[in-house]
């Protein structure tokens, strides 16, 4: 019976794998962000780009700067779009106001916000990545706005929000690149490029014109507007089994938020991860929710998170069980201080 079972399984795999598609050439960057879309299914092989070159660029930038990430950003937010991190500060009062403003010239389809205080070399690295894709962006379509010019944009965008505008002082306001792409219709290519850029430590965010309404143009300017909701300290147990107090699962209901450090820090640490690692958090969602409803943030203002790579994935499973996957490198901390909630 065992032999027959083994043979049947192998036969089944053989017939399944016989239908596997052709491997094809190296995928284009435009396929990164829109995998699964119709556009991604139409290979645009004439636009194959040398991802190796970009890889090396990013190695040079991210690798060097990994060691000083922690305090650089006011609020490093995981940027992989499978988790709805754009609303990472759900209480931020100005998002809606900012959402519909796009005070850039016609043709500008993407804006890349550079972390405030970046050196000329760091800014050049961002420019290098942008120009590494000549099929998408030409130098003529690229414009850099320094802090003063960025401030002028902010004044237009935040004309009805003087409180937030006042917070965007020259030392905290991101500078920016505006991108007028060669092919403004090919959103897939731009989205892929934006995804690459978001992984650079010099880049605060890359926003597509088509995404406006879901992002805050100038990110999170000051702590006074970025305070997360208060910790949940009352109510039913949200972390761990009520009987044993120990569990690998978090249970949360709509609108609730968990800050693990404030509840059971021993259950989520300590961490002493060397090299590449993953931390997975299972989250049971209420009926009708899926991973796109999950918001996630970790504090970025402590040294403990200096090497915490802000990549978060939510992978689905049956019955509303999703998994938040945190990719980390050399992460050492007594516990993982994070917040997770439903949008």
């Amino acid at each position: 019976m065992r032999d027959e079972l083994d043979r049947s399984i192998r036969d089944a795999f053989e017939s399944m794998i016989a239908e596997a598609p052709e491997l094809g050439s190296l995928p284009t960057v435009g396929q990164v962000a829109l995998v699964g879309s119709d556009q991604a299914r139409r290979p645009n092989w004439d636009r194959v780009v040398a991802i190796a070159a970009v890889t090396l660029l990013v190695i040079g930038t991210i690798g060097v700067l990994l060691t000083r990430r922690g305090g650089d950003r006011a609020m490093p937010v995981a940027s992989v779009p499978t988790v709805a991190t754009s609303a990472v500060v759900p209480s931020a009062p100005t998002t809606a106001t900012l959402a519909n403003a796009w005070p850039f010239p016609d043709g500008v389809e993407m804006v890349v916000y550079v972390v405030a205080g970046s050196s000329p070399e760091e800014i050049d690295r961002v420019r290098s990545v942008l120009t590494a894709f000549p099929a998408i962006v030409s130098p003529a379509g690229l414009q850099y706005l320094d802090a003063a010019e960025s401030r002028q944009v902010a004044e237009q965008q935040l004309a009805d929000d003087p409180v937030t505008l006042a917070l965007l002082t020259p030392d905290v306001i991101p500078t920016l690149f505006t991108v007028d792409p060669i092919d403004p219709v090919n959103v897939a290519e731009l989205a892929g490029l934006a995804e690459v850029l978001r992984q650079m430590p010099e880049v605060y965010n890359a926003v597509l014109e088509s995404e406006r309404g879901t992002t805050t143009p100038f990110g999170t300017p000051a702590p006074t507007t970025t305070q997360p909701p208060p910790l949940l300290t009352d109510g039913p147990p949200l972390f761990g089994d009520p009987e044993t107090g120990a569990s690998s699962e978090l249970f949360l209901a709509a609108g609730e938020e968990i800050r693990a450090a404030g509840l059971e820090p021993t259950l989520v640490g300590p961490f002493d991860i060397t090299g590449l690692g993953e931390i997975r958090i299972d989250v049971q969602l209420p009926t009708g929710s899926d991973s796109t409803d999950v918001g996630f943030v970790y504090p970025g203002d402590t040294d403990a998170y200096a090497n915490f790579i802000p990549t978060v994935e939510a992978v689905g499973a049956d019955d509303g069980l999703v998994q938040v996957v945190l990719n980390v490198v050399s992460f050492t901390a007594p516990y993982l201080d994070y917040r997770i909630w439903l949008q």
């Binding site: 019976m1 027959e4 079972l5 083994d6 049947s8 399984i9 192998r10 036969d11 089944a12 795999f13 017939s15 399944m16 239908e19 596997a20 598609p21 491997l23 050439s25 190296l26 960057v29 396929q31 990164v32 995998v35 699964g36 991604a40 299914r41 040398a50 991802i51 190796a52 890889t55 990013v58 190695i59 991210i62 690798g63 990994l66 499978t82 690459v196 992984q199 690998s248 989520v268 002493d272 060397t274 090299g275 590449l276 690692g277 993953e278 931390i279 997975r280 958090i281 299972d282 899926d290 991973s291 992978v315 689905g316 499973a317 049956d318 999703v322 998994q323 996957v325 990719n327 490198v329």
Partner: protein
């Protein structure tokens, strides 16, 4: 909470094209088993680009292992919606061109009812001839988990063959 702590990874970074050529085929086969031929390429591309990003951020040597994990994760993501999952599973295991009366079709259907992780474990065991220990190492799971998944999968398939 599950923590996977890889060893420090050191070594040379090959070109992306070379990595794609070397490791793409097995990733594509696994993706085909997990999500079917229609979405396999998309899942593989997404996983590969994730690996490229990881290489950019660290010194990854065992690309194959990382890629297979990425395929598994991407496949899970692709199967997120229960409705979509059912359709994709059917597409993965029930090609219109095959005779439903054939035993391997029944087995394929049964494989389609397994979880993505169980399918991954089964694929690596039967198609890649990995030991349970190797599967556990590749996927960052405990040997006990792999053994349990394998036995459950076999049990499910054994029922089909009765």
């Amino acid at each position: 909470m599950e923590v996977i702590d890889d060893d420090p990874l050191h070594g040379t970074v090959a070109t992306s094209e070379a990595l794609w050529r070397e490791h793409g085929p097995i990733a594509l086969r696994l993706a085909t088993v997990l999500v079917g031929p229609h979405d396999a390429h998309d899942v593989t591309v997404a996983a590969f680009l994730r690996v490229v990003g990881a290489i950019a951020r660290s010194d990854v040597r065992d690309v194959r292992r990382y890629l297979l994990r990425a395929v598994r994760n991407e496949a899970k993501s692709a199967l997120r919606s229960a409705g979509r999952r059912r359709n994709r599973d059917l597409a993965a295991v029930s090609p219109a061109s095959v005779d439903d009366g054939r035993p391997d079709v029944d087995v394929r259907r049964a494989i389609g009812t397994l979880s993505a992780q169980q399918r991954t474990v089964l694929f690596l065991t039967y198609w890649e001839d990995m030991t349970e220990a190797a599967v556990a190492d590749t996927l960052g799971l405990s040997r006990g988990t792999v053994h349990r998944d394998l036995e459950r999968a076999r049990g499910r398939l054994r029922e089909v063959l009765r």
